[in-house]
């Protein structure tokens, strides 16, 4: 275990109740001993204990990896959350706690891997339970997703779905299928699934998490209105629920219901399947590692077909912005993107923003060099969680 080696450290008394001794040392979180056996989700007690437990879990993950888990620039958020709680602003404290709890991308894959390892043997080791077969659980989710004959499929909709319009003033276009509002029937199904998510979160001891995430404040939570909104809503719910599972393993009250819930979400929103995919390497996103150019997008699709199940072909440099067909329809400019994330990107590019004088990114890019288009396209792809 890690010793207390250097720097000014300060005890975090909140950890004491969980049996752990942890402290922040610079940008490191250190543990005095293995604490996992005594940890329980603490959402019922308020956001800060939950946050601290999360930090302990992260500490456990770094133990799994044998290194230090760096809090880095999240440390100020811990302090802000503590200040908010001290001033009685529980909602803000909870919101900040949620922000801390979602690791930055550089930690994400490591967090995921370590989480799986911990799930497999951490709780079992300390509670005498049989090990959790994580792979079997994930397989079951995948199996039930893919082979349910009754699973309805949402049509792709517009044949040019996801592509942007030619209107130079189009900050408010109608070409993004993600903007499509849920039908009344879908709304009812999504509402039921959201209620299930709230129940599961409450069972997991974290009744406030989803409320804060969904509402962003102390107003009643708003149910998602669109398919893309619902995807984000359920993805956040799932990530929060997985945290409960990471703490509790099979002792988690949500253990048995979670798979059914994921499968149900996927039936209503089949795009959920690809939305949860982790970011991929460039080579996995392109249709062909060899450069080829085409006279149209249709010609490209004639050769490479569809982008895959609930994936779309996405143009880094947009179509119809003054570049030639060959400049945009080539294997270095067209990549696969999960459909839901493609929707988010399209919306992102077409929202006006003060930083651009009220223009959208798309409008701002008009007239700029193809290199600048490509640079922004790649940055957005990374930020949207499509490209590693």
């Amino acid at each position: 275990m890690h010793g207390h080696t250097h720097g000014v450290s300060r005890e975090r008394p909140d950890f004491a109740r969980s049996g752990a001794r942890c402290w922040i040392d610079g940008d490191l979180i250190r543990l005095s001993h293995w604490p996992i056996g005594g940890i329980r989700p603490a959402g019922r007690s308020g956001p800060i204990p939950w946050l601290m437990d999360l930090a302990v879990l992260e500490g456990a993950m770094q133990e799994v990896y044998g290194g230090h888990f760096r809090l880095g620039d999240r440390t100020p958020l811990l302090q802000m959350a503590a200040n908010a709680l001290a001033s009685g602003d529980r909602r803000r404290a909870a919101a900040l706690a949620n922000e801390v709890s979602f690791p930055p991308p550089e930690y994400r894959s490591r967090f995921h891997d370590a989480g799986l390892r911990y799930l497999r043997w951490g709780p079992a080791h300390h509670r005498g339970n049989p090990p959790i077969d994580v792979e079997a659980w994930l397989d079951r989710v995948a199996l039930e997703r893919k082979f349910d004959p009754d699973q309805p499929r949402v049509s792709r909709g517009h044949p040019d779905g996801g592509q942007w319009t030619d209107d130079p003033n189009s900050g408010d276009h109608q070409e993004n299928p993600g903007e499509e509002l849920l039908t009344e029937e879908e709304e009812q199904k999504v509402g039921r699934l959201a209620e299930d998510a709230r129940r599961l979160l409450a069972d997991a001891g974290d009744p406030d998490a989803l409320l804060v995430l969904a509402a962003g404040g102390d107003k009643p939570p708003k149910l998602p209105k669109s398919k893309s909104g619902a995807l984000v809503f359920f993805a956040v719910s799932l990530e929060t629920l997985m945290r409960s599972l990471a703490f509790e393993g099979r002792n988690s009250p949500v253990w048995h219901d979670l798979v059914d819930w994921v499968v149900a979400v996927n039936r209503v929103l089949p795009q959920f399947e690809s939305f949860l995919d982790p970011p991929k390497e460039w080579e996995e996103l392109v249709a062909d590692p060899v450069y080829r150019e085409f006279d149209s997008h249709d010609a490209f699709e004639e050769v490479y077909g569809s982008a895959g199940s609930f994936y779309d072909w996405h143009h880094l440099v947009e179509q119809k912005l003054g570049f030639s067909e060959q400049e945009v329809n080539n294997t270095e400019n067209i990549v696969r993107a999960p459909r839901g994330r493609h929707w988010l990107i399209t919306s992102f590019m077409t929202r006006g923003r003060f930083e651009l004088g009220g223009r959208s990114w798309r409008q701002w890019l008009r007239g700029k060099s193809i290199e600048e288009h490509r640079r922004v396209g790649l940055e957005v792809l990374r930020e949207a969680g499509v490209l590693k």
Binding site: L77, K219, S226, G357
Partner: protein, 126 residues
């Protein structure tokens, strides 16, 4: 709307700004771009009104608002009068990994820091 804005106090304008920002957040999270952009135009009028009174700093408390969309949008409008606070707010919102507001903040911050965008009051924006 403009006529009404002139009759409102600074605090009332701030409240209206917050209400709009929360709704814009819902639009943003739901990819409802047209609605978002319509509300942005309304918000721009509020910001212009505050600038005309040299009272944009009435929005500064918004940088600590519980709703991340309120903080994000206010940071852009407060940049000219409180750049350090505004930048810190964008950094803080940029750490949010769920939804889309964090992505907006990170992308905007990169753009500002690269010198490709300069935050000014809406009426002076190019």
């Amino acid at each position: 709307m403009m006529a009404n804005l002139k009759d409102l106090s600074g605090e009332a304008l701030r409240e209206r700004y917050i209400d709009l920002a929360i709704l814009m957040g819902e639009d943003g999270d739901n990819c409802l771009t047209r609605s978002y952009n319509r509300r942005l135009a309304k918000m721009t009028k509020i910001v212009d009104e505050l600038w005309s009174r040299s009272a944009i700093d009435v929005l500064l408390p918004n940088l600590r608002h519980e709703n991340p969309w309120v903080r994000y949008l206010s940071a852009a409008n407060c940049w000219e009068v409180a750049p350090e606070q505004a930048e810190a707010t964008l950094e803080e919102v940029g750490r949010i990994r769920y939804g889309v507001v964090g992505m907006d903040a990170r992308m905007d911050l990169n753009l500002i820091r690269s010198g490709k965008a300069v935050l000014r009051r809406p009426s002076q924006a190019s």
